[in-house]
């Protein structure tokens, strides 16, 4: 099966600083790919390059190829907003809008021009169910999203990302600010979601990468050091730098 997304010789510069160097990686469909590595290794930059989030950063330059279903994401005629609709994103810090729960999920749909109330309501419910939040909020959809707990807010953000029916969901440390119970819920959700979505997750927690992902990519100083099935990376890494990093030998 061809990869859902792929990069070939991808390099990213912020001004004169190269954040990513010549990365070639496949993102498998209906699987969870974890990006691990120390701070500043380029994993978040790589994630943002997949849906052209870096377009919004001044001085950012991308070289090489990023494809989605074989098509160049950075192609001349490709609309970045259309890419982001197909490749959604969930951020580290849950960032619900100061609106109702319902409106948070409906937000992207309204922007996309969906007006019919019934269709909207159906899609909001579906998204909240997919994000495993429906049962907790179905009786108070009109309440402010800010009244939800941290874990619920993060699942709301996932529901908001799912509402526009993306094919790929990028997650940038989605559970780093949550307690172990909320983290376990998010991880369980990620495993559920991979049946219908392709997921790429950046995480500082190696245990989390081990728990949720099918494939792991280890980045170090802007380079992709090693990529492989998660089970192998955590039991028999091939590269010395991977071994040192995952076993906690940081020099």
């Amino acid at each position: 099966m061809p990869a859902k997304m792929a990069t070939r010789g991808l390099s990213v510069w912020y001004g004169s600083k190269r954040a990513i160097q010549d990365v070639t990686l496949d993102v498998e469909e209906n699987a969870v790919t974890a990006l691990i590595g120390p701070s500043g290794c380029g994993k978040s930059t790589f994630l943002r390059t997949l849906n052209r989030m870096n377009d919004l950063v001044e001085g950012c330059r991308v070289e090489g190829v990023v494809t989605l279903d074989g098509e160049d994401v950075y192609g001349r005629d490709v609309d970045a907003v259309a890419v982001r609709r197909r490749v959604g994103m969930v951020f580290q810090k849950s960032n619900p809008f100061p609106r109702s729960i319902f409106e948070n999920v409906a937000f992207g749909l309204r922007i996309a021009g969906m007006r019919d109330r019934q269709t909207l309501a159906a899609r909001v419910e579906e998204s909240l169910r997919d994000a495993a939040l429906w049962d907790e909020v179905k009786d108070r959809l009109g309440d402010s999203a800010l009244a939800l707990s941290g874990g619920q807010q993060q699942r709301l953000c996932i529901a908001r990302a799912l509402a526009v029916r993306p094919e790929v969901v990028l997650m940038d440390e989605p559970a780093s600010a949550l307690d172990p119970i909320a983290t376990a819920r998010i991880e369980e959700l990620i495993r559920e979601l991979k049946r219908r979505y392709t997921i790429v997750i950046v995480t500082h927690s190696m245990q989390q990468a081990a728990r949720v992902s099918d494939f792991t990519a280890f980045f170090y100083m802007g380079e992709l050091v090693e990529y492989g099935p998660t089970e192998r990376i955590f039991t028999r890494p091939i590269q010395k730098r991977t071994e040192e990093y995952i076993t906690g030998r940081f020099g």
Binding site: T235, R236, E243, T247
Partner: protein, 232 residues
């Protein structure tokens, strides 16, 4: 490989390894004492082997406890995880080697008052030497984390088996000629069997060293390569 950033973790792994090696050393001297008990017909030495075995049993409990502690608190991965797996397997083999030495010592006690089987009993010493050498080399491979030394142990497994075969054949011939001494002959065969088991345990340890170093499982004739083991 550089040391762990956590000095405590580094120290725990070192302690685990040292304890295993100390246990391995005790197993070697137990075998030596058991064989000396056989050769010198000295029941006193047999009792000493039994006493030593209690220390070996205590080693096993302490090593298991340390390993569980590391697994729970450090959640090792990569080579550290393979080291923990190896430690947990090796400790079982060593404990059984201790038991086999006791078995040899018990037979030595019985045999001290029995007739001697010249040909068979003369081979027990050399067989014990080979089994002990296999064990020492397997432990050296473990200390040095040297897969080629471990492979060498695996390649020489036949030497113990070959001596076992010779002792069994010699004993059978002796029994045919001296049916009145079957009981003593059976005990000699048992000793050979215990030594053969010690050789097998040494082989198990060597197999785990290959796993520790290369991440490849070579047990039961398998040699799952990195590649084939690495696919989904």
């Amino acid at each position: 490989m550089p040391q762990h950033t956590s000095h405590e973790f580094e120290a725990e792994l070192r302690r685990l390894k040292e304890r295993l090696l100390a246990m391995g050393g005790r197993c070697e001297s137990s075998i030596a004492a058991a064989v000396r008990a056989l050769e010198t017909r000295n029941p006193e030495l047999a009792s000493a082997v039994e006493r030593d075995d209690r220390v070996i049993d205590a080693d096993e409990l302490a090593i298991d406890e340390l390993a569980v502690r590391i697994l729970a608190l450090r959640q090792p991965v990569g080579r550290d995880l393979r080291f923990l797996m190896t430690a947990l397997k090796v400790v079982t083999d060593l404990e059984r080697i201790g038991d086999e030495a006791v078995n040899v010592a018990e037979r030595a006690r019985d045999l001290s008052a029995a007739v001697e089987l010249p040909e068979s009993q003369a081979l027990l010493g050399p067989m014990a030497a080979v089994a002990t050498r296999q064990l020492r080399r397997a432990l050296d491979a473990f200390v040095e984390e040297d897969a080629s030394k471990a492979a060498d142990v695996l390649a020489r497994d036949d030497e113990v088996d070959e001596l076992y075969g010779r002792i069994v054949r010699a004993t059978l011939a002796y029994m045919a000629a001296h049916p009145q001494n079957v009981e003593a002959a059976m005990r000699v065969t048992s000793c050979a069997k215990y030594l053969e088991r010690i050789g097998d345990h040494a082989t198990n340890i060597a197999e785990m060293v290959v796993y520790l170093v290369d991440g490849v499982d070579v047990r039961h004739g398998g040699a799952r390569s990195r590649e084939s083991a690495g696919t989904r």
